[in-house]
Amino acid sequence: MIAGSLGSGRTALLVLTGVLSGTTLGTALAEDAAFTARPQGGIQGALLPSERSLWTYDAASGKYVVVDGDASAQYVPNLRKPSKPLTFAFAEGWAAIPFSVSINQGIYKIANDLGINIIYCDQEFKPEKAVTCAEQLSQQKPDFAIVSNWQSGAAEAIMKIYDEARIPVANIDVWHPNGIFFGADNYASGQIGGRAAGEYAKALGKCDGITIFNGINPGEGDAAAQRMAGFTDGVQEICGAVPAERIAEEILDAGTTEQALTKMTDWLTAHPEASFVVATSIDDARAAGIAKALAQNGRDGAAVGLGCDEIGVAATKAGEPGDTRFLGCVAYFPEKYPDYLMSIGLDVLDGKPVPNEVHIEHVFLDKDTIASVYP
């Protein structure tokens, strides 16, 4: 219902800010404690199933248009050999990140299997490079573009270039105007992690006096921020409402374990009263840094990784959370991303309706369960 009005004239700011209304994801658990998860809805890139609509691409106008139909069902990838030779563009988020690497490898493998040509550009997590990639990829006239840009502020500038070249786009994890959103269910993934952290605290009898710490980065956009919002809510669903002064955040903008370790250590030094901390950040690398800081400074609690990339899996398997302070991770299944993305591309080019937002189903994995998914 909202998606239909997504003209390119709207600014990204207006769209991303969104409206906080609609129904809650956490109603089933709301009775557990004196806390109700904040209702989340209407946020681009985190639309509730009922808010999604079906799109097809209109090559003449370079716009996706809404078609009738139910978009709330889970999207199932359907990979097949295309009937004519196709070229897909892949603008990678940053080739230096493990999460991105597994998507990269999967896309190339599927493309190879299906006989699809890939043209490639690394955006290096920099907005100006993302714009340059858009220019260089679109001039090579690909049939479809997979754009993994995490700089939400540059979304409009990038999409303008693809739109002008009449190239349909799917984006990964960050909502872009006139692009099919594919990726994490940011709020839900955070909430799953938050509940796990809450259960851990509850089992240790630490719900009273618990401190919630979020490693944020406003530069990665409001959708990414929803992960921490979900985490904060998830913890409180289990442990009950936590007073605002014990919900803390710090900017971790380098995306590295090293920076998270350093900044978290400094934060802990400044907050000796935080004796039991549950924490998360936008990805596993930063959560791992937070966990290291907790362990090194002798504080109790645990960090939850978001993603289950190589860092997250390794940290989860590393030992007991009581020692490592790393409780586990919420799986984003990056290895499944390529199936979804390539399938979305094939569907769009075949004129099949595709939901304007396709989300992964997240699962929390701990030391005992992770091996069943990532042996």
Partner: protein
């Protein structure tokens, strides 16, 4: 008594028979001809590798891609010629871009917002120049400090948040073009042309070379070295701020982490262009050639479909080969 004739003629004698050769030797120390040859060779190879390389669109894309780094590199070249160093350019870009985006968001007219952004660049340059000239602090350390301070202040003031710019005129500056040539490419070329023209024709330029060559000698000759040094850092700051505006116009957003680490690209272009890190030697056009080489390598690696990790390796190797070739060529010229 007149000058001993044989002595002077022997002095002058070195110019007489080998005069032309000597002339070429001296010119070749600064010229970027060798690099230009490498650039052309690379362009020829790439035009065989990708049918898109030698298209007008792609060449303009290369121009767009180097505009931001290029504008900053002009100021950096001048500072390095004058024996200095400016590491704070990336932070200045971010701060200036944030300021402009914020003011535009408040409804302040574009020219005023632009002027305010440039003023921030000038202020950072003044601070750099004053600390280095009067505080006698090593420029690497001084600008490393201002790099951190300015970046930090951008975070403090913005709360780490990015600002999205939706002003159509400002966006048009970033993506628009006239007669098919993007505004930012015109701005890039104009900036290079202006300073390449000014450097040999003004005291501004001549004193940069003089101070970089020997600040002591310049001081003794009556050149107000401290004031001129400040002028060079102010130029660098102002150009960084201008590049910050281009950055915001091009990407549509301003963020405190913008242009993080860009100084490395900038300094690479300057050094590739033949400017001596010890000061006194360098050419604005040399930096332009260095910048083009960087831009063509970046562009060509994407068009050739080189995987990301290999791109870095190949980039490093090409840069190393270019510098090595240039060095060998120069040494040969000097021995000749």
């Amino acid at each position: 008594m007149t000058l001993p004739a044989d002595a002077t003629t022997r002095e002058a004698g070195s110019t007489a028979p080998g005069g032309f050769r000597r002339f070429i030797v001296e010119r070749s120390r600064d010229s970027s001809l060798g690099l230009l040859a490498i650039l052309l060779l690379l362009a020829v190879i790439l035009s065989f590798v990708s049918p898109y390389f030698l298209t007008a669109t792609n060449l303009l894309n290369i121009g767009r891609g180097i505009a931001i780094v290029g504008i900053v590199a002009v100021g950096e070249t001048i500072v390095i010629i004058a024996g200095g160093f400016d590491l704070s350019v990336g932070s200045t870009m971010a701060a200036a871009g944030m300021a402009a985006a914020w003011l535009i968001g408040l409804g302040i007219p574009l020219p005023v917002a632009f002027a305010a952004a440039i003023a921030i660049g000038i202020a950072v340059g003044l601070a750099n120049g004053a600390i280095i000239s009067y505080g006698r602090i090593n420029p690497l350390i001084a600008t490393l400090a201002t790099l951190a301070i300015v970046r930090g202040l951008s975070y403090v003031i913005s709360g780490g948040r990015e600002l999205v710019v939706s002003d159509p005129a400002f966006q048009a500056f970033g993506v628009g073009s006239v007669a098919g040539i993007p505004y930012i490419v015109i701005l890039l070329v104009a900036t290079f042309a202006l300073f390449a023209w000014l450097m040999p024709r003004t005291r501004f330029g001549r004193y940069a070379y003089a101070i970089g060559s020997s600040a002591k000698a310049a001081q003794r000759a009556g050149v107000p070295v401290k004031q001129w040094r400040i002028a060079y850092y102010v130029t660098s700051g102002a150009l960084a701020a201008l590049a910050g505006l281009v950055f915001v116009a091009r990407t549509g957003n301003a963020q405190p982490s913008a242009a993080l680490g860009i100084e490395l690209d900038v300094i690479t272009a300057v050094i590739l262009g033949g400017t001596s890190l010890s000061g006194g030697r360098g050419r604005i056009w040399g930096t332009f050639v260095g910048l083009l080489l960087l831009g063509v390598v970046n562009n060509g690696l994407i068009l050739a479909g080189v995987p990301a990790f290999w791109q870095q390796v190949v980039k490093g190797v090409i840069l190393l080969l270019a510098v090595l070739y240039d060095e060998i060529r120069r040494n040969r010229a000097e021995e000749a």
